[in-house]
Amino acid sequence: MSKPTGQDRFLILLDEHKKILFKVASSYCRNAADREDLVQEMVLQIWRSFHRYDDRHRFSTWMYRVALNVAISFYRSETRRSRTTVPAEDSILEIAAKVPESAALEDDLLLLQRFIEQLDELDRALVILYLDGNRYDTIAEVLGISETNVGTKISRIKERLRRDWTAHLRKEHSTWSSMT
């Protein structure tokens, strides 16, 4: 049996962690064409940097770093709208027509998406890592800040969500009261 090449190994690892690409791209781009461009840019950068990957560390941690670095740069780039490198009919990530979801889950995901969109590019990276169930030390390693700092920021973000949610409920209540 022949030994897998570097590209084969890369594709196996990429396939195992493809959800990271999808979740990062969805969190940084609302527009579908931008999202496809971003996925392509992330895959290319992961591939170009693959020779630097040290397999004593978890691939997912390294992949988060590359994907989030590319996403933040892409998000900040003013020229992203003029770049279309993948033909529209072909995408790196093929997604089933619709992911089956319950109505409650759909509502929660919509709420979550709105909340993520309000965050700046750095807090957005932090929230994605947190929601994906990473431990504080992993988040700290990916972002390059201390664990205590991660804890402080997550508490602040939780507090902000709580405040926004209360304000949202108050607003809804006052709208409902004025209608009745």
């Binding site: 895959v43 390294w62 770093r65 929601l131 990916v142 972002l143 997550i154 969500l161």
Partner: protein, 232 residues
Amino acid sequence: MELDDLKRSWEEYDRKLDASIRLNTRLLHGSVLGKAETALKRLSRLLLVDLLLSLGAAVWLGSFLWEHAAEARFLVPAVTLHLFVIALVIACIRQIVSISQVDYGAPIVAIQKRLELLQVERIRTTKWTLLLAPLVWTPLFIVTLKGLFGVDVYAAFGAVWLAANVVFGLLVIAVGVWISRRYAGRMERSSLMQRLLRDIAGHNLTAATAFLRSLSQFEDEESRAGLTTRCT
């Protein structure tokens, strides 16, 4: 609503994604991994072309200087141009070196800082190249006509014409700055033009320095939080 409630929904969604996402390995094998370039690689290639052109100009100007070292009227414009080109060469080399040191697998705060500093360097180079270009035009005209065609511009056009060109260059700079400040936000059809105008007007530099500031704050929040707690 708590972040942890949303986290549970995210986890549920994550499980469902397993069944619905597929990697298009045919596309990856066929074209993406083989040919396509990353944004940074494209920038690096453009800088390399810039560097080669600037080095060619520097060599040609060097030989012109050698030939006209005794004639101040050709020496002064040639030295001015040479300094301009050398500054461009240095800026290109600095940017190419910075790009080669970018490792996307490094921690986010460190890499974003490096990329933004690179952006600051690019903005400054573009801004000063575009702003100084109208002033460089006169020495370029003198040196090119003499070096390539043997024409003495001082004799052919006169000193007054040349002085008028310098004054015109200064006017072009002033008008260029005014246009960039007025129209930087209105060139939505051309991203390149918008970027150049925003570079000259200083908007892009302001945005880059603001992001560098937010990166530092993001990094230092722990100490700031500690300081606030101590103060209150």
